[in-house]
Assembly symmetry: C2
Homo-oligomer: 257 residues x 2
């Protein structure tokens, strides 16, 4: 029983590295755009630029799928769209349930990017009885009591958790017990799941904190190697200097410099 694995530990899923799998949707998006413009073929260089990656990396990624290119020409757009879609499992229909229809859950239900990729929102589930029956994004919200029934009768294997943090683990347990084996978690909690269940986490607050770290670092580089600091960075730098006291009064004695 692994504790809160975020993505597959290190196991190559079938010879395809995890890092490559994570980029396939990126390539697919770029290819779809080319397909809509009726572009017949692309070189690795062009496609890499469109997807925002290195061309060597792209070629290596594709090499894991097989030899789908033609030397001297490039890749057939339509064919590659099909191959990547198939590899990602997007040629079949994936029923998905969203649990927790608050602001975020409703936004997810309305998000158009799901249907276009073979993901079908099979049900919206919320613990609030007042929500039951209310239509969100054209689908009636159902009560948590029916969770197991919904999962089983629709053959749902992918669940999206958009509940408050406190309810997430409990919802997760019920989803897994009912047969869900992949979970996309928006709640700010570490989920514990049994082996064989995949969890991916999306945390808005964490992403912002990472940005803040880099932002602070940029602001602290005023006396950097070259005066390359953007205008706005210096402005915010004032507040950071003071060694402000902790939120709860006094700090332990050991204070490194």
């Amino acid at each position: 029983m692994a504790t809160g694995r975020t993505h597959r530990p290190a196991t190559r899923s079938r010879g395809i590295p995890e890092a490559t799998v994570a980029r396939l949707p990126l390539y697919l998006r770029a290819l779809t755009a080319l397909s809509e413009r009726s572009v017949p073929t692309v070189s690795s260089e062009e496609l890499a630029a469109a997807a925002g990656v290195n061309s060597a990396k792209l070629r290596k990624d594709f090499s894991y799928l097989g030899s789908y290119g033609t030397r001297g020409v490039g890749y057939d757009v339509e064919y590659l769209v099909y191959q990547i879609s198939r590899e990602l499992g997007l040629t079949q229909d994936w029923p998905v349930v969203i649990v927790g229809i608050g602001n975020l859950g409703a936004a997810l239900a309305n998000y158009g990017g799901f249907a276009s990729r073979g993901f079908r929102v099979a049900a919206l589930i919320d613990a609030d009885p007042a929500m039951a029956g209310k239509p969100v994004a054209g689908i009636g919200v159902q009560h948590t009591d029916e969770l197991e029934h919904i999962i089983e009768s629709n053959g749902v294997s992918i669940g999206v958790i958009a509940t408050p943090a406190g309810a997430a683990q409990q919802v997760c347990d019920r989803l897994v017990a009912a047969g869900v084996t992949s979970i996309l978690n928006f709640a700010p909690t570490v989920l514990t799941v049994p082996d064989g269940v995949d969890v991916r986490k999306v945390d808005l607050s964490i992403e912002l904190q990472i940005l803040a770290f880099h932002e602070q670092r940029k602001a602290g580089e005023e006396a950097g190697p070259d005066g390359g600091a953007p205008a706005a960075a210096a402005r915010a730098a004032a507040a950071v200097a003071g060694d402000r006291k902790g939120p709860d009064g006094d700090m332990p004695a050991v204070m490194p410099a």
Copy 2:
């Protein structure tokens, strides 16, 4: 001018590895929970379990920040909360603007996880004149025309893009030109930014596609080493077998097995 860098290439920001920085918010969350329960100290083992990581990794991560633990005892919770907060730059106030107040933008504006971490939503911006003045999450929406003015007068250095894909690059360019140096992008596009600007991407559709890949793989393992496949996995396996034809009629001749 780098094309669509998603996160810092490989440059250690100041001796602190990028992977470690990405985990600091995780530790911080676990520590905050402990702090609220008035727990005075934690061992690396306990904290690692709470954060869902390996204890050795956690200790190594903390070692990059300095020697903040006490051997034989563990880490002082309050002190560590303070140190990590400071390292992440959360002891200062970060004004943030959200551009694109649709379903997702509104959900983000209402998200409570921002304010509690020192992120203050300074303004909501939308291109739709009909939205102007409308209050969302207690803040009046402002028109895109005022974007530059808002950024500059508030000293905003972090921007959140929640617009449709088509508008994202244009909004990004304006944000950067006005002085924003960190961007959190929810639009399904690769953003091109000048050097010195950090972009982090959150893409709901991509996360689901990655889950679908693993889900498909699990379903295809019916004849696996041991009958350990979950109940629901087998159910969906029926559809995957048939070598269904591509969306646009015929495929190129070369068809590997």
